[in-house]
Symmetry: C2
Subunit: 295 residues, 2 copies
Amino acid sequence: MDINNYLHEKRDLVDAFFKKYYSRSHIPAVLQEAMLYSLFAGGKRVRPILALASYETCGGNPLDIVPYASSLELIHTYSLIHDDLPAMDNDDLRRGKPTNHRVYGEAIAILAGDALLTDAFAILADPSFSSGITPSNLLFALREVAFASGLDGMVAGQVQDILSEKKEPDTDTLFFIHTRKTGALLRASVRMGPILFGSNQEVLDALSTYGEHVGLAFQVIDDILDIEGSTEELGKSIGSDEKIKKMTYPRLYGIQKSKDIAEHLIADAHEALSIFGSEADTLREIADYILMRRS
Amino acid sequence: MDINNYLHEKRDLVDAFFKKYYSRSHIPAVLQEAMLYSLFAGGKRVRPILALASYETCGGNPLDIVPYASSLELIHTYSLIHDDLPAMDNDDLRRGKPTNHRVYGEAIAILAGDALLTDAFAILADPSFSSGITPSNLLFALREVAFASGLDGMVAGQVQDILSEKKEPDTDTLFFIHTRKTGALLRASVRMGPILFGSNQEVLDALSTYGEHVGLAFQVIDDILDIEGSTEELGKSIGSDEKIKKMTYPRLYGIQKSKDIAEHLIADAHEALSIFGSEADTLREIADYILMRRS
């Protein structure tokens, strides 16, 4: 299997679902337009793909859970729109395009984010998207996604991130921010597979550990790319973390040590998959892809 | 039954649930503090009370669904925080206290709203809060709340409200805004009762109609109170709609005709309850309370 083909193919499934889900016109038009602007701004669909691959590893057919996996991208997209706002990171550029509020204004950007978050839960609460998933498992998955996104997850990470700007980085705070702000939803994405499939505790635990390590590695590499990447590759301004003195791994450990940490995390992610045979090969390749990515 | 006692008693149940639910300290502390600041700013808990009364009308014990009913107040509170933001209505005062962003700043206010919205769904997805509700009915209720809150509900209403500022009011746009921005969640609150109880379609339809009329009446009366109420009674600046030329019923119809419309809507709400006997008396009294309220 070529991992790039796999990623491409799964991304197309997610995009096709969104096109269908949002094919009906909603009023007022500008709201849906603002939502779709950010949703189709070139995201890699990493979270949905992790959920699909994880479901496949458990023995399921990924085609059966595309809507549920896609809901993760709605939450990711809402978080980017709100993070970019003037009151937060005040970013003008995201994935090579003007940020949502630069195009639609702050009010619509905030509300587009709110609606994307809400739609994620509307989709996760709809059993008609799949015949094979029990209502109980669907509730379990939805609860996981909510916990990963809210007061103990992504929002907490974003608040701590803001509070920590311009402060000297320390290990505990940095770990808190990265595991909440990015790690929690990535972990929940991986856990969605075994939860929807109804896997046993051993499988759920192994994939949770994989998700934790991959999730943290993802953000450490993001920090590195913010320094080493090029604007063309990243589609956003380079050095933006440094500009507002974000708490990052390179700021605390330097570039080389940060790279070592990311490599160790990916090695630990591989280790967590040791209970699986070749059925986890895709997850292994995704871990390596996350380590090697340039954007 | 004294309706004021009933409202008081049910409000205490909701408040007690929130105190328990948020009794654990979350990090960073300021996020939870900002959430609780608005959650305990003196809300009347109209939406949870409608859900509890509706569940009782269907034959259920309201004590069995307090967490699910309370989740509606989390969504209402999030919407108030975001509506008050400088980019939206730019309000300084809400229920007699400085608005969330005036106390915590815009970034924290936006994120506190996000976390409240997310928690609503986390609670609705948790079957451990009640033994008698089936997972399917819980998913149904959650989906209803999500639809009422998002792209086809509350958020759409708020976007249209913003787009319509300073424009001449017309019947269709006004109806659109009021039924989406306020009506949709109030209707969903009433529908939560029969949905969680598993009532038949006739009961669900009757209560939906009741909820629609009560929901629209609620906002028409809000418009009137914004002109006729006093700052002490309302806890917010009077005439704030007029100041930013909001599209309201009094602006289109004048005060007296708006009052007539509200009275008709409440009469229609009563009519919708005609399939019920005395078991719907509480809902009848709540409809009258909504018509007569001064804040």
